[in-house]
Structures are given as C-alpha cells and as structure tokens.
C-alpha cells in the first residue's frame, strides 16, 4: 500500500512548492489533489496549468493519488435545481478530465446530500441518474469514481448494505466507493464496510473517530490516527482479507495548533505502522 495526504492539509501560507517538499520529506508517496479547495487547483485552472501542477508534483518526487473535491457540498448532484445539478455534473467531469492529465485513475465524489428540504428518495434517484452517464464517461477515460461514505454529513447511504445496493443500482463498474474509515462514527464498523465492499473500493481515507462525540456537538468528531475509537488492527486485517493494496490517503480534520508540519510527520509514521501491521 502507498501513502498519500491531501493538498488541502498544506498550510495556506506555505504554498504548494513548500507543501510538496514537506509531504515528500515526511515520507509520503503521493498527494491527493482537492479540486476547488486550494488556490492552485480550481475549476477555472487551465489544462496547461493542470499539467504544470503534475510536473510540480513529480519534480518533488511524488505522484497524484487521486482527485477529490469538496465542491459538491455546496453544489450536490442531488440538487433540485437542474442548473445546480448541471454544475455538479460538470465538476465530476472536470475531475475525470484532470485525473487523466494528472496521471491518476480515481476521483472522489460526495454523491448526494439529504437535507430537511431534499428528501432521501429524491437524492437516491438523482444520484443514480447522474452517476450512470458519469460512470460511462469515467470508464472511457480509464478512471474510477469513488463515492465517499460521508455517512453522518450526507445523511445518505448510512449502512454498508445500503451503499452496496446503491452501487449495484448504479450498475457501472467504474463507480465504486472511496471508503473513509473515520466517517462511520457510531453507526457501524469500518472493517465491516471494507469486507463488504472489497473490490469496489477505489481509495481509502484514513482518520480516526471519537464515536462518543457524535456529529452534532461543537467539537470535531475526528482525530488523528490511533487517538480515537477505530479498531485499527481489525481494519488492517480487513484490508488484507479483501486484498486491498491501493492508496491510503490521510484526511485529518483537526489541525495541529502549533508546528503544523509535525502533523504530516506524525501521520506518515502512524500510517507506516498501520501498513506494517505493528498495532
């Protein structure tokens, strides 16, 4: 397995170049690029600038692990407004296009967002209708779309079987799950999600979770690796069981208040131990 961390973790005042240097020094193999979340990678970033971004990454001795985005939180594929949905679709298309340019084969999509206003059944239907043609487009590009399990935040596809049925209903091999082991909170167990989804897993997000906090409080439910309630030996064993040998991508919500670079080193070392199974 290979280690990556998101470019949205790079302190803003550092800039990309210094951030890439830090990521390499800390021992990562790759970087997850967040479309729309960082100044160097926006929807308006030209193709030539995307290719230059790839060169910068590779010159630092890294590769791009995958293309993610947080843009779908504001503009979901499940929006009622057709104009918003068209924009959401365009975001995924741009992720696919840039993934090819950046030399990676996976994108992360937050598939739908259930709210008080937009109910579950609508979200389910719209996501199916959006992801089927996008899955075809991704397949043609040699890219996989990983729908992330943002269980609590999305209020959508809360259980692993529900998520599996959704992927079956989408019915496109290029559409799988970008499985975040920190997102399952108190509604289940990450190792069971891994076992159930197996070959449909496109990438793994790593973070730990404080299950007793829930998501409704004013404190983050997420924490650094090994500080929370995830059963890391069980998660590691499940990955072995399903023969997952792909990217592990660190996604830390809480940042170090001081010495922010230290979080990169600490996380990389924790990931090394996780990969080695020294738990």
């Amino acid at each position: 397995m290979k280690k990556a961390i998101g470019d949205n973790m790079i302190p803003r005042e550092w800039g990309l170049e210094r951030g890439l240097e830090l990521i390499k020094q800390a021992g990562y193999d790759g970087i997850e690029l967040w479309l729309g979340d960082v100044p160097w990678f926006q929807m308006a970033t030209s193709d030539s600038d995307v290719r230059a971004l790839r060169r910068n990454v590779e010159n630092a001795g890294l590769v791009v692990s995958n293309v993610s985005t947080g843009l779908h939180w504001a503009t979901p594929l499940s929006a009622r407004d057709p104009a918003a949905r068209a924009q959401a679709t365009r975001i995924v298309e741009r992720q696919i296009e840039t993934a090819v340019m950046l030399g990676t084969d996976a994108v992360l999509v937050v598939a739908g967002l259930v709210t008080e206003e937009v109910p579950y059944n609508e979200v389910y239907q719209r996501c199916l209708e959006a992801l089927q043609p996008l899955g075809d487009k991704a397949a043609r590009a040699g890219v996989k779309i990983g729908c992330e399990n943002c269980n609590s935040e999305q209020r959508f596809l809360i259980s692993p079987r529900e998520f599996s049925q959704f992927l079956t209903d989408v019915g496109r091999p290029a559409v799988g799950i970008h499985l975040d082991v920190g997102n399952i909170h108190d509604t289940g167990f990450a190792e069971q999600w891994i076992e159930l989804h197996g070959p449909r897993i496109t990438r793994i997000h790593l973070k730990d979770v404080l299950k007793h906090r829930g998501r409704c409080g004013d404190q983050s439910v997420y924490t650094n690796l090994f500080l929370g309630d995830n059963n890391w030996p069980a998660i590691r064993a499940a990955l072995t069981k399903v023969r997952y040998d792909g990217w592990l991508v660190a996604e830390m919500e809480a940042r170090y208040r001081y010495a922010p670079d230290q979080q990169f080193y600490d996380t990389a070392q924790a990931m090394d131990r996780f990969i080695a199974g020294r738990l």
């Binding site: 057709p82 008080e116 937009v118 109910p119 609508e122 239907q125 209708e129």
Partner: protein, 205 residues
C-alpha cells in the same frame, strides 16, 4: 417545441390496451413543453404514472408538467381540452426558470386562463416540508422548494404552503383546470405514494 404523448385514444389512432379502463372518447395526454419545461424529472414522474392515470380517469386528462413559457400552440391545446371537458393539470415550473420566462408564463396564465399568479417564493428554510391540499382529499405532499403562488386565496384554492395559496381547481367551460404552483411531478418520479394517490384522486373526481 413541444411533444404530445397519448396514452390512449378511442378515436382509432392508438389502440386502447384492454387492461386500461378508459371511458369511450377519453384520452390521457402528457404535453411535454420540451425546451419550455423546467424540470425533466417532472415529465418522467407523470410519464411513470400515466397508465395508472388512465385506469383512474373518468374523463380525458391533459397533464402539462413543469411549464415555463407556454407558447400559443400548446396553450390552444390546453384551452381546447378544457372546452371539450377534460381535466387539465397545469404544473408551473417557473420556480426554476428565468425572470423573463416567469413573466411570459404569468402573462399566458392571466390572458388565456384568467389565473393570476405572483412571483416566485423560496419556501426554505421552513418548519414543515409540505404543501397542504384540501381537495380531492386532504393531503400533505412534499413541497419542491420553490412555489409560484396564486395572487390571492379564493374558494377555488385547493392547496396552501405557509399560508399562501399554491394550487387551484377551476371549472373552465366543460372542463376542470387544476393549477399547481408547487411541482408534483418530481415527487411522483421519486416514488412518493401519497403524491400518486392524490393525483389519481384528482383525475377520478
């Protein structure tokens, strides 16, 4: 551009499937305004229940989903259908249209059907997600975020959202006009059983 989909004719154009009990000379029609339809999923929603509408209907039915601009030819179809005694379900989709399209929609409703509507209202945030219908049976059906309200409540009003009249039933000629300022088609498309039950009661009435 618009497209008319007929479920059934008894005039000999389309053979009536034997399992659909539609009275003689009735027809069930979906009038798709295409470029002037704001919500394709509304068309899909009504299309998906059209056979059930055919079974339930006692008269001819014309459904116009998520209308924005209503050009003269489809408006003539609406008016002629009403004069001929049909139930016409005219759903406004202009909550998702441009301001110009809304104005054209408003003017067409006023000039051809004497239905007066007010500007778009964004319902959310709100306390409950429902439109309250009083006819043909009391029903709470999901709103669709934006409504085109009628300019004032009257005895013809059959639906309210946050106290605003958003649906009416009016006798026009021999027919019945049902105006929906809150789209129902997307709920049908999403499989909302209450929305379907309400629609079938409308065409049954």
């Amino acid at each position: 551009m618009h497209r008319r989909t007929f479920l059934s004719y008894t005039a000999g154009v389309v053979t009536l499937p034997s399992w659909i009990d539609v009275p003689q000379r009735s027809r069930i029609e979906l009038l798709d305004l295409e470029d002037n339809c704001c919500l394709r999923e509304s068309v899909a929603g009504y299309s998906g229940v059209l056979a059930d509408v055919g079974r339930a209907a006692r008269r001819s039915v014309l459904i116009v989903p998520a209308a924005a601009r209503i050009p003269a030819p489809p408006m003539r179809t609406i008016v002629h259908s009403l004069q001929a005694g049909a139930v016409v379900i005219l759903e406004s989709g202009t909550g998702f249209a441009s301001e110009q399209d809304f104005r054209a929609h408003r003017d067409a409703l006023r000039d051809s059907l004497a239905v007066r509507v007010s500007a778009l209202v964004q319902l959310w945030p709100r306390r409950t997600p429902y439109v309250d219908y009083s006819w043909p049976h009391a029903a709470k059906l999901r709103d669709f975020s934006r409504v085109i309200p009628l300019d004032q409540p009257t005895g013809e009003t059959i639906g309210f959202a946050d106290g605003q009249p958003v649906a009416l039933r009016r006798q026009v000629g021999r027919g019945t006009l049902i105006f929906l300022g809150s789209p129902l088609g997307p709920a049908l498309w999403a499989g909302d059983a209450d929305a379907k039950r309400w629609l079938l009661d409308v065409v049954r009435s």
